[in-house]
Assembly symmetry: C2
Homo-oligomer: 293 residues x 2
């Protein structure tokens, strides 16, 4: 059967899709861009429905399914959920849904990769967690850490204001220092040697956190942990960008952005989270999918 | 002899002084604040006479001596030169001058620490250098690398516009990506496995550089390299903040800023370079010292 080159479909040259309810997941994309420079990426921020934090799980499942549909239409070869709320609420149903697609693509989420890395990093067996109150009370990190090693203690600290301080660009104000001190205090008292940054916003203040917790504490972010797992997935599925492609030997892949809300607002906020040039942002309307039973 | 507590002079509780011609050295201070959270710091930016790049060595020697006088008056226990031009032009004379003071304080500069770390990191023996044209043509890094290991090749790339792109806050524009690609190209062709960021501005774009150079290349910044050497100096001179001081067990040291130019301009630009809250900035007039013969 003859194919023109335009028809030829090589899943390895398709983009990796990353999504979040907003811009926080851009810190995850940042790590992916640094660690996997040859790959193409497409990022979707569901900013019109941000934040997911206080929504019902069934609703988040439906949102995640709608986003996945859109990203599959754009021929994503791998789906990364760079959002704590979406991972907690929708990862199992999303995995099940994706297994039913013809491509059978993998879905990777936050939480488990960080738990694994934190358990691998700790020597004292005492790990700290900084996260939003919703994430802490979901118990997702506790279950994930305990699944990896039931003998490790997790000291979770809910941080009600930290994400919004960062979102509003106020992370270098004195108020931010006071907030960082307050949330780190219980972790210092518990003498943890490893701290999970359980919110995608927190890498933007990791130097402040490192200073307050001390240089001997290992910080584990969602981005760094997920990037490693994405590398593994590409490798075992043989989905990494073909190294025989000369055009990528001397250059980087492409990345672009979709958002459901205001494009300019996304661009303004996004650069600060990505810490790289943002380029093109496209507005997208998501097709409504069947609610999950 | 009886002393009141106000008279008691403990050199360990004095600040570490850091200076630069401008705000670039704040990336060095950033690393010091993260790695040595218990110490106090005072930073002087000689912004009124920025940049030093095109000045005569004798003039820079005099500027450095004036700055050192000011910082000694503020009882610095260690002097860090976080400026490539000042290190190249004035480190030897500054060291000689400081040995003559009653305290005999140590002076640490950039260049040598990065050379040491880069040689320690390389496996292939091929190291890259990104720096301003003045720094490259000074040959300072070449000499420093060769002094540590004469069998290591240094591939130096002069970057005429990179520092000013970052200084102007344009590091996330498409133009910056093109510039980064252009300066990294010779280093990729030379297949270096380690790259020295030979300008204190460059850590602000290290993710872009890492992406362009590839994840297997080790980046060595002045800040990270110097911070390690400052730790060593404090340790061997027994000048580290006393661990018996309870007030510092649960909190961080203080840091403050002096600048010879406009205070507001320093504050605006400084936060972006420090990536931490900047706090108080004090204007300072430097006393003119004798020119070095």
């Amino acid at each position: 059967m003859a194919h023109s080159s335009a028809d030829r479909f090589d899943p390895r040259t398709q983009p990796i899709a990353v999504f979040d309810s907003g811009v926080g997941g851009l810190t995850v994309l940042h790590e992916l861009l640094v660690r996997l420079p040859r790959e193409d990426f497409v990022y979707l921020g569901d900013t019109a429905r941000f934040p997911y934090g206080q929504r019902e799980a069934a609703e988040i499942e439906r949102f995640a399914a709608e986003i996945a549909e859109e990203l599959l239409r754009r021929r994503a070869k791998l789906l990364v959920v760079a959002c704590n709320s979406a991972t907690s609420a929708a990862l199992p149903s999303l995995c099940a849904r994706m297994r039913q697609t013809t491509l059978g693509i993998d879905v990777l989420g936050v939480v488990r990769p960080e738990a694994l890395r934190a358990v691998a990093a700790t020597r004292s067996g005492r790990i700290g967690l900084l996260a939003t109150p919703t994430t802490v009370s979901s118990g997702a990190y506790e279950r994930a850490v305990s699944a990896v090693d039931p003998h490790v203690e997790l000291h979770a600290v809910p941080c009600p204001t930290l994400a919004s301080i960062i979102q509003d660009g106020e992370q270098f104000d004195e108020q931010a220092v006071a907030t960082v001190r307050a949330v780190c205090e219980p972790l210092r008292l518990a003498r943890v040697d490893t701290v999970i940054l359980g919110c995608t916003h927190y890498p933007l203040i990791s130097p402040m956190l490192q200073r307050t917790l001390g240089p001997d504490v290992t910080l584990v972010s969602s981005g760094a942990a997920l990037a490693r797992q994405v590398e593994h997935a590409l490798s075992t599925r043989e989905l990494g960008w073909p190294i025989s492609d000369r055009s990528r030997v001397d250059g980087e892949g492409e990345y672009r952005f979709l958002c459901t809300g205001d494009v300019e607002a996304f661009r303004d906020l996004g650069t600060r989270f990505l810490q790289m040039p943002l380029g093109e942002v496209e507005h997208v309307e998501l097709a409504r999918v069947e609610a999950v039973a």
